[in-house]
């Protein structure tokens, strides 16, 4: 590769700012602006390129239809759709769904099927006792029962008889399912209660009999510390 001869002749111009401006033979030989700068021709864009463009655009749409998971923020590689992700979640372990029939059998008589409560029990829908982030107070209520006045949603309730203790008859799984159901129904949307959480409360309150002789009062429950 040799230096371009044309370049060498261009380079051999006088140097320095004061070195014979304009009077130099090199510069006067070239008229001011005659060094041609690049221009562009007017050939058309080939039609195949435009067709390819349209084809790729179409492919892009198809690809996004099939691989973008409906632009859902919960869909990650490798799952295909929000529907599938939901199905994977409800498959083995939807506690709330398991809890619904149990609630109907055990609780609905007093708390009503729609969780609105009534003459025998306070409402569960929208109740701060039910939806608290930490369920450790909530779990105690069915375990050992509850008696005495209670304030729910800013209203004071007193009932002829207290809540029955069910810790002896219901397993951790069933209690977790029921509590998960009431925490996620009728507009409630608290995280589910796991059997492990129920088991832990059982362990924490091991000294307390579950035969209805040691029911909680609301004041006593309020002293149970909550996480955070």
């Amino acid at each position: 590769m040799k230096p371009d001869p044309k370049k060498s002749s261009n380079a051999a111009r006088p140097n320095g700012p004061g070195a014979g401006k304009g009077s130099s033979p090199n510069v006067s030989a070239k008229s001011p602006a005659n060094e041609a700068e690049p221009t562009a021709g007017l050939a058309h864009t080939p039609i195949w390129l435009i067709i390819l463009f349209a084809a790729l655009f179409y492919w892009g749409q198809l690809y996004l239809d099939n691989h973008a998971g409906g632009f859902d923020p919960q869909v990650y590689e490798p799952y295909e759709s929000a529907k599938l992700v939901k199905a994977l979640n409800t498959g083995a372990d939807d506690l709330a769904a398991k809890g619904e029939p149990l609630y109907g059998m055990v609780c609905a008589a007093c708390h009503q099927p729609n969780g609105s409560g009534g003459a025998l029990a306070p409402p569960l829908a929208g109740s701060e006792w039910v939806t608290a982030a930490d369920p450790s107070r909530l779990i105690r209520i069915p375990l050992h029962g509850l008696s005495g006045p209670i304030q729910v949603k800013g209203q004071d309730y007193t009932f002829p008889s207290g809540m029955t203790a069910m810790g002896e008859v219901l397993s951790d799984d069933s209690l977790a399912a029921i509590l998960s159901y009431i925490r996620q129904s009728w507009g409630n949307s608290a995280p589910q209660v796991t059997p492990a959480q129920v088991a832990k409360v059982r362990q924490d309150t091991a000294n307390r009999p579950m035969n209805g002789t040691a029911t909680w009062t609301a004041d006593e429950l309020l002293k149970v510390p909550l996480a955070q």
Partner: protein, 488 residues
């Protein structure tokens, strides 16, 4: 719009400025930027070679905390991206804007000040990275105290470029000017967005990766890409002395690049919602269109004059740079497809592509531009032809060695990574030969570019001393300076 009337009167009123006056107005700022960029290329390569050796020889220089792999590697990357690539392409861009606008470089003192501060910022940023102040974001590793000044020095250079563009005497725009104008706008937006959302008011968790990915995509595919294409579109027709094949094709490619190249940056398998990866893939594949438009345009422009690359050094380098651009584009598109990316992700394939981009596309294009510009601006002949041949062949061999082994090594590594039966340590051992080859390639590039740097410094010294204080010239430099720079 006032800007429109302003520039339209400006570009038609005055007669074009003579070429030698334009070159004289560019001399100090452009040569300064180019020389400094070449120095950063050498520094970046030196750091790169050290970090590459560390990958296969973990004991190498391991006693020094400042030279730990996790520090010297990002330092090398940033020296190459900001010290070399950005600065060199901006320098070339300023000269192209002045030449195409047929007007002197405006505010000639401003780009020098901007250039000085740019270099100081890069130096400060590299020291910060070596001192452990790395921000941890790809291509944004420089700490805040360096990225701020870097941004403002960019604005100084960009203001001068915009002024030169607005006060141009030649109304009709050429392809290179479109690319330069878009690039000038692009950098401040992406850089300030990235700095704001990553460092000043950081977004949470993986959103940082999303913002970072978008920034890197725009930094390479649009900003550096546009600056490099501006140079290619200028120098190819210029050195061939014939018009570019088609303005329409160029226009098509330009807008397609801007609209499709700017999306993306995420990859399939990133911990972000799936659509981000898929959208990035679709847009990356769409950049096939601008790639074909550019390739076809350049091919038709070159048609029938292929032999010219042998006689014209500038053309040879720029043509090879353009080839690397097309190559990196096509391989890049292939590598984002899910079936390929699941094998290339997290492997040496990525640095291999970066090397092809920086040393193939950017460095070759810049070298070609320098071979054309520097002698004209310094009004001095290059001291020797031997360095040029040496630089060319070390570049070609070096690029091949820092690219191909990493690309193939990456594929090997990916295949082994995806085979859970292969113990991880065997994956690590399998890439060592490839890393060794790339160290060799880096060393070749380092030697070749150090030679070019020496040559540029010599030419600068000759011009500088020849013009202001000829008496100070040493005996050895004197005859050469007189022969090239003296009065004819």
């Amino acid at each position: 719009m006032p800007a429109e009337t302003g520039s339209s009167t400006a570009c038609s009123a005055s007669p074009p400025v003579p070429v030698n006056e334009i070159d004289r107005s560019c001399r100090t700022p452009v040569v300064f930027l180019l020389a400094c960029s070449q120095a950063w290329l050498v520094i970046g390569l030196l750091f790169g070679v050290i970090s590459s050796i560390k990958l296969h020889g973990p004991g190498f220089l391991s006693g020094s905390e400042w030279l730990a792999y996790g520090r010297i590697y990002p330092a090398a990357q940033n020296a190459l991206a900001y010290g070399f690539a950005a600065q060199a392409l901006l320098g070339v861009g300023l000269w192209i804007l002045a030449r195409l606008g047929r007007v002197t470089l405006q505010g000639a003192g401003i780009p020098i000040v901007g250039g000085i501060f740019w270099n100081l910022s890069v130096a400060l940023g590299l020291l910060g990275i070596l001192a452990g102040h790395n921000t941890a974001y790809d291509w944004l590793e420089m700490p805040r105290y360096a990225s701020g000044p870097l941004f403002f020095s960019y604005l100084l250079i960009a203001i001068c470029a915009i002024m030169t563009f607005k006060l141009r005497r030649e109304c009709a725009l050429y392809v290179s000017q479109w690319y330069l104008l878009a690039a000038l706008l692009w950098f401040p937006w992406i850089y300030s967005t990235a700095q704001l959302l990553l460092i000043i008011f950081p977004v949470r968790g993986v959103l940082q990766a999303v913002v970072n990915g978008w920034f890197v995509q725009n930094l390479f595919d649009i900003w550096l890409g546009s600056l490099g294409l501006a140079a290619i579109f200028y120098f190819l027709p210029k050195t061939l002395d014939r018009p570019l094949h088609s303005r329409y094709l160029a226009l098509f490619g330009f807008w397609a690049l801007l609209f499709f190249g700017s999306w993306g940056g995420m990859y399939a398998g990133a911990p972000v919602p799936k659509w981000l990866g898929s959208l990035s893939i679709v847009f990356k594949v769409m950049t096939l269109i601008p790639l074909l438009a550019v390739g076809l345009n350049l091919y038709r422009t070159m048609a029938g004059k292929w032999s010219a690359v042998k006689t014209d050094a500038a053309l040879g380098f720029v043509a090879l740079g353009a080839l690397c651009y097309l190559l990196v584009g096509v391989v890049g598109i292939l590598s984002v497809l899910r079936t390929v990316s699941e094998r290339t992700l997290f492997t040496l394939f990525t640095p291999g592509m970066t090397n092809l981009y920086l040393f193939g596309f950017v460095a070759l294009t810049v070298a070609g531009a320098m071979y054309y510009i520097v002698p004209r601006l310094l009004e001095a002949e290059w001291p020797s032809g031997g360095t040029q041949t040496f630089h060319f062949w070390t570049s070609v061999a070096g690029i091949a060695l820092v690219t191909l082994p990493l690309l193939f090594g990456g594929l090997t590594q990916g295949a082994k990574l995806n085979d859970p039966q292969a113990p991880f340590i065997s994956v690590v051992r399998s890439i060592i030969p490839f890393l060794g080859l790339s160290t060799l390639g880096g060393t070749l590039l380092l030697i070749g570019n150090a030679a070019l740097l020496g040559r540029i410094s010599k030419a600068m010294l000759a011009t500088c001393c020849g013009s202001c204080c000829p008496g100070l010239l040493s005996a050895s430099q004197k005859p050469r300076a007189l022969a090239s720079g003296g009065k004819v």
